[in-house]
């Protein structure tokens, strides 16, 4: 089809298209702006000339807040970083403090952490991909995905007592051992996850609208991804083959056989597909972990300096009472020093840099939130595209306000 402009006779002046650049505010309260974030767009027609992305609306002073409680009181805050996959944050922070304390969680606890973490990752990727599809008009996959996500949450609730913000990690282990039917529950939900993955793909991957909207839009070249410090699915979609689970294994990830999916173009389609494939890989990891996980044994270190003793001990013996008292009133006391510890969060490398002065209160907790680095690259992905392309691009970057603004 010919462009409409060529049909117009300009001399007659019958129709004039006003093409001065226009400034448009998108957000901070906009249904497609995940979290609260503002974009100031310079538009020429529908093309984005420039964009100023302004995060910070969800700043709660996470890092400063950590400096006034005990180390274990940081876990509820860590939950609220990436609240779509709180279990991964819990474990990430626990691993950092354990590195400082030179603690090694028992094997069963490590497998337990892996399984809960991978379930959280599946939730996170599902939510991201489902929401992206929904915002492009495909509501059905979103509802199917949320149905399965709820079933995963049922398991997490059964284990931790909370559906969303679990606060389940502890320095030196987990708050509780796995429930009796944990393994069967997880196996059951894996079937459903597989099913809905296939269903979603059937709905979307041959859908012309979906293909047009995602393929070739929001491109992030590999070089720029490296320069921006982008990690996680966004970086892998751009062809950067990096996954902390494989490249610097923590917990028991070195015992699993899994692939790290890598894209080529770095467009919205690649990011969607990387996440879909990572869900499959997470299922593989969980299946292997369920296979290898010891059937009995502790999930937390057996050291009353770190873990609260059993309640019946606390009520009956003075030693356990003192331990409880010391842990509650003064907190776990890591040796003075500082460490950086990183894990693969749902959005990329989730790092904790922590400093201890030897007291029961963190001296400094610094988070490396993957979203923050991914969001930096978002500007380049958007410029040059149409306004409507912002929606899938921003959706697939999966910026989480809680983590980004902290």
């Amino acid at each position: 089809m010919e462009p409409i402009d060529d049909l117009l006779d300009e001399e007659e002046g019958a129709l004039e298209l006003h093409t001065d650049p226009m400034r448009l505010n998108m957000g901070p309260s906009h249904p497609a702006m995940h979290g609260t974030i503002r974009m100031v767009l310079d538009l020429e027609g529908e093309t984005v000339l420039n964009v100023d992305i302004q995060p910070g609306y969800l700043h709660r002073g996470f890092e400063k807040s950590c400096e006034r409680g005990t180390w274990n009181q940081v876990f509820p805050y860590a939950d609220r970083l990436n609240y779509v996959s709180p279990m991964l944050n819990n474990v990430g922070f626990a691993l950092a403090v354990e590195k400082l304390c030179e603690l090694q969680v028992p094997e069963r606890g490590q497998y337990y952490r892996v399984i809960l973490g991978e379930l959280s990752r599946i939730c996170d990727h599902f939510t991201c991909n489902g929401a992206t599809a929904m915002e492009l008009g495909a509501f059905t996959p979103f509802l199917w995905i949320l149905k399965v996500r709820d079933w995963i949450w049922d398991i997490l609730e059964k284990e931790s007592g909370a559906r969303l913000t679990h606060s389940f990690g502890r320095v030196g282990g987990m708050a509780h051992p796995p429930t009796e039917h944990f393994i069967e529950d997880v196996r059951g939900v894996l079937v459903e996850i597989r099913k809905v993955t296939i269903e979603t793909e059937t709905m979307l991957l041959k859908n012309r609208i979906f293909l047009d909207r995602t393929q070739g839009t929001g491109i992030l070249p590999k070089e720029r991804a490296i320069q921006y410090g982008v990690t996680g699915p966004v970086a892998r979609a751009s062809g950067l083959d990096y996954d902390v689970r494989r490249d610097d294994p923590y917990l028991v990830y070195d015992r699993f056989d899994f692939e790290v999916p890598v894209g080529e173009d770095g467009d919205n389609w690649d990011r969607f597909m990387v996440r879909m494939e990572e869900i499959r890989q997470s299922i593989r990891i969980i299946e292997q972990a369920l296979e290898q996980m010891p059937g009995s044994g502790p999930v937390s270190v057996d050291d009353p300096r770190f873990l609260l003793p059993a309640k019946n001990e606390v009520y009956d013996t003075i030693e356990a009472t003192i331990s409880h008292f010391k842990l509650v009133m003064e907190g776990v006391k890591p040796p003075p020093g500082q460490v950086y510890s990183h894990t693969e969060g749902a959005n990329g490398e989730l790092g904790f840099f922590i400093v201890s002065d030897g007291s029961g209160t963190p001296y400094r907790v610094r988070v490396r939130p993957p979203c923050w680095y991914n969001l930096q690259a978002c500007r380049e992905m958007i410029i040059g595209d149409m306004v409507a392309d912002i929606i899938p691009t921003f959706g697939s970057v999966n910026m989480i306000g809680g983590e980004c603004d902290r």
């Binding site: 003075i318 030693e319 009472t321 003192i322 010391k326 009133m329």
Partner: protein, 544 residues
């Protein structure tokens, strides 16, 4: 005999530690701020060496090996072996060149075992124990034991909540028999009212027959108690110590000026107890019972605002309004007929401001209000019950020998028309002071209700000693500064500031606007006694 520096040093875990002749290992370490864990040793008491927590391995000199039986897992039998004999650091005198190991596995093992024995029959009392949070059993469990209970039989039960006297309650189950309290009574007070009876796990501290724990230093038994066995009836169940913050202060109870910590809860702005602060120049490690209780008077009958008028016509007003009213009344009388009553209970700063006030008014009618003498002793208590009599002399530049009796005589002789009363007077003066009720301009600067506030026509509220920065000069001429522990009620000023404002209202200038300027003036106007601050001396004292 002269010693070269190398000869007067011992080595603790590779670190050279100097010592003075006669020092034990633990005292030499204590002087350097190195803590060797201990329960029964106290720097101010004799050595008992009964808790065995301070056992160390002396690696130099002749080694003593103890025969033991050690479990051999391979042969599944106890086999004879030896281990080094450990010695109590509190009892062994430091010798030049001694090498001491306090961190090796033998020492750690010994400490863990001692700690386990001490907790063997200990009741599960932390949640209801006042010592929790500052208890050595808790601290050392975390530092040196960190294991859970192995004994599964019923603990030995002993008397709980035994009333030892008007101030102290004893719990035998919590007691670890360190005998610190016995030694305080015997060595500090010279009244051996406490002793120990029975043996082993039936041990308990008892009173001498027919006696109560009722000497003047009973609270020191609680102060030295490393666990929660002795508790102060005053402090019992009032606060949890981890909510309390300590501020350095000086006891206002008598002319000795014992150094103390004022433990206060910042949430409520309230002081809950005083605790002795080590100062080798003044009070070593101790305070008397009356001194420990002085904090109560600062909270009793607190003046939160000004008062105008007397009796039924008395009305409350803001602090600023009370100063304005006082200025108006003073301005109405001839300034040479105004008397100024200093206070031996208030800081040198407050008294100096009052003296300057009298000087600018041109009146020479200075009097001093002081508490009558009480029973002193040769331990700490001075017969002079006033913390700052020397400070008043210092502030006035001369001895002021006119007291309240002289004031009342001069009032009766119609020589005085107006009086500025600084601080408080005890209620027994009420009758004697009633003639002041006839005068129109009786101004009292008070933090608490007293006989002065009853007779005053204007009361200007001031901060109390716990809410103020100031100086007391003790009986030895030592200027000791105390710091604010809790905030003053809103709008309430220190007395020296209120006097300066009062003078300004009357169109006069005292020559200072802040405490720094005041102190500079105070020290240049009277340099008869060389002032020395005790702050540095206090910092030298280590924790026990």
């Amino acid at each position: 005999m002269e010693h070269s520096p190398e000869e007067t040093k011992i080595t603790i875990d590779g670190k050279p530690v100097p010592f003075e002749p006669g020092d034990t290992i633990i005292r030499a370490a204590w002087r350097q701020g190195i803590e060797i864990p201990h329960y029964c040793w106290h720097p101010g008491l004799s050595v008992a060496a009964n808790c065995r927590m301070c056992l160390v391995h002396i690696k130099s000199g002749r080694q003593m090996e103890m025969p033991i039986l050690k479990w051999n897992a391979k042969k599944k039998a106890f086999l004879p072996e030896t281990k080094p004999k450990l010695q109590p650091a509190c009892q062994i005198e430091a010798q030049a060149g001694m090498e001491i190991d306090t961190a090796g596995p033998d020492v750690a093992n010994a400490r863990a075992s001692v700690q386990e024995f001490l907790l063997l029959n200990h009741p599960v009392d932390c949640p209801i124990c006042d010592q929790a949070g500052e208890c050595k059993l808790q601290d050392y469990w975390l530092d040196h034991q960190t294991s859970l209970k192995r004994k599964r039989t019923e603990p030995v039960h002993k008397p709980k909540g035994v009333r030892f006297g008007p101030t102290i309650v004893y719990d035998a189950e919590r007691c670890i028999m360190c005998t610190r309290c016995i030694r305080v009574c015997e060595e500090l007070v010279g009244d051996p009212v406490l002793d120990m009876r029975e043996r082993g796990n039936r041990n308990e501290i008892v009173l001498a027959p027919g006696r109560q724990l009722d000497h003047r230093y009973t609270l020191m038994t609680e102060h030295v108690c490393p666990v929660g066995a002795l508790t102060s009836r005053d402090f019992r169940f009032k606060a949890r110590v981890w909510f309390l913050k300590a501020s350095p202060t000086v006891c206002p109870g008598c002319a000795t000026g014992c150094n103390a910590h004022a433990d206060h809860d910042p949430r409520y702005g309230k002081v809950y107890r005083l605790r002795p602060r080590d100062n080798p120049q003044v009070n070593q490690h101790w305070m008397c019972d009356d001194g420990m209780m002085t904090y109560i008077s600062a909270h009793e009958g607190r003046m939160y605002g000004g008062l105008i008028g007397r009796g039924d016509e008395r009305e409350g007003c803001s602090p600023t309004e009370s100063i304005r009213q006082a200025a108006a009344r003073f301005s109405a009388v001839e300034s040479s007929r105004i008397a100024v009553v200093l206070s031996a209970l208030r800081s040198s700063e407050d008294n100096f401001a009052a003296v300057r006030f009298a000087e600018t008014l041109g009146t020479s009618k200075l009097y001093v209000n002081a508490r009558p003498d009480w029973v002193g002793d040769d331990i700490l208590r001075s017969a002079d019950q006033n913390p700052n009599r020397a400070g008043v002399t210092h502030a006035a530049g001369r001895e002021i020998d006119r007291n309240l009796n002289d004031l009342m005589r001069d009032v009766a002789a119609k020589e005085i028309e107006a009086v500025l009363l600084l601080g408080s007077a005890s209620t027994e003066f009420a009758q004697q002071l009633s003639a002041l009720g006839e005068l129109e301009a009786i101004v009292n600067l008070a933090s608490n209700e007293s006989a002065f506030t009853t007779v005053a026509s204007v009361v200007i509220p001031t901060v109390s000693w716990l809410e103020d920065f100031g100086t007391f000069r003790n009986r030895d001429g030592l200027d000791q500064q105390f710091r604010r522990a809790v905030p003053a009620p809103p709008g309430v000023q220190p007395a020296w500031k209120a006097i300066a404002t009062l003078a300004a209202e009357m169109g006069r200038e005292l020559g200072f606007s802040n405490i720094k300027g005041l102190r500079a003036l105070l020290n240049e106007s009277t340099s008869s006694v060389s002032a020395q601050s005790s702050d540095s001396a206090a910092a030298a004292g280590a924790t026990v």
